[in-house]
Symmetry: C2
Subunit: 203 residues, 2 copies
């Protein structure tokens, strides 16, 4: 988030910023920001602040987005299409190298300039492009088997959009994005608001 805020500041022509300004752009407390940055090193100047371009590079280097990461997306349905068409990944250091789907009727399609290919091609694509990050956008029932194949093919980081709990060997990272849960959390707070005001009490 700090990296994104710095890119925004750089685009606005800002060359230097204080922890206070940067924290405001990122939506956090300035003490937290300074502490977070201190884990990377002492890249600021006391009395002055941080050099936007310099700090931007240091953070990018630390999180490993100085070079592009190849990514494969499996499951080119509603969500897979959106992800494939999303330009933001490219500009943030990720390059979608392949779109895979188990349904042969999808293999004719070209999405975002890429052929949708057979899931069977996973291993060869991973080897060819040295892919370590995979995105799962299949239905929940298929997600575990897709994850297993990914791991066997050599992928060691998985972003899972299916509402499922994946089990993977040690050394493989999984992050889950669960949109229904996000809405449910909002609904929970909404309900508490209405109960508090008595607008919509549930018997």
């Amino acid at each position: 988030m700090y990296l994104r805020a710095l890119i925004g500041l750089a685009e606005d022509g800002t060359t230097t910023c204080s922890s206070e300004e940067l924290a405001a752009s990122a939506g956090v407390n300035s003490a937290k920001l300074r502490k977070d940055l201190s884990y990377l090193g002492s890249y600021g100047t006391r009395g002055v602040g941080y050099d936007v371009e310099y700090l931007r590079y240091q953070i990018a280097r630390e999180i490993g987005v100085t070079h592009d990461w190849p990514v494969v997306i499996v499951g080119i349905g509603n969500l897979g299409h959106a992800l494939a068409n999303y330009s933001g990944f490219r500009s943030r250091g990720f390059r979608v190298v392949a779109l895979l789907d188990a349904d042969p009727s999808r293999h004719d399609e070209v999405v975002a300039g890429l052929d949708v290919r057979s899931f069977e091609d996973l291993e060869s694509i991973v080897t060819e492009h040295d892919v370590s990050i995979g995105v799962i956008a299949t239905p929940a029932v298929a997600s575990q088997s897709v994850a297993d194949r990914m791991v066997a093919a050599g992928i060691t980081s998985i972003l899972n959009f299916a509402p499922s709990v994946l089990s993977v060997p040690d050394g493989v990272d999984v992050r889950k994005v669960d949109l229904s849960i996000e809405l449910q959390i909002l609904a929970y707070h909404e309900q508490r608001k209405s109960v508090a005001t008595g607008t919509e009490g549930v018997s």
Copy 2:
């Protein structure tokens, strides 16, 4: 997540489960599960476990998904289409009542059985359907102005997919889903793996 795990167990015909089983389904520690459930009440039976159907209802009641929540989606581009077409929201207690977009050329379209309507209709739709939850799937530059309009119209919970920091009045909840950040976190861990093994050291 517990609710989802319970629904899965119920579909499998399980009528009773222990904290250990349910925790495994949800991917958490069993002590944590028991403590979490204890905040809702004592719905288990010692020596036996939890009644799946009963606990399912109790959790659903607590988080407020016993009745449907109306939702509006603003920004019917790549992501908005996917969200509108997603059937999982409906089955988890959410009903998309309107799709809004600022671009008039999109207003002809019908997505998932709903007309794409003008963003100007926001206020009347919110009032008519008593909507309290809004989803923002517009570009980042538009997200703050969309959020402001939503809040003015009476929406008090926002799910934001744009990579932006929204500022809203007290009493309004915002949750942010940031897919690029998720990938960056995976890339960071990937980089650390390669540095550790010396495969891909960065000078």
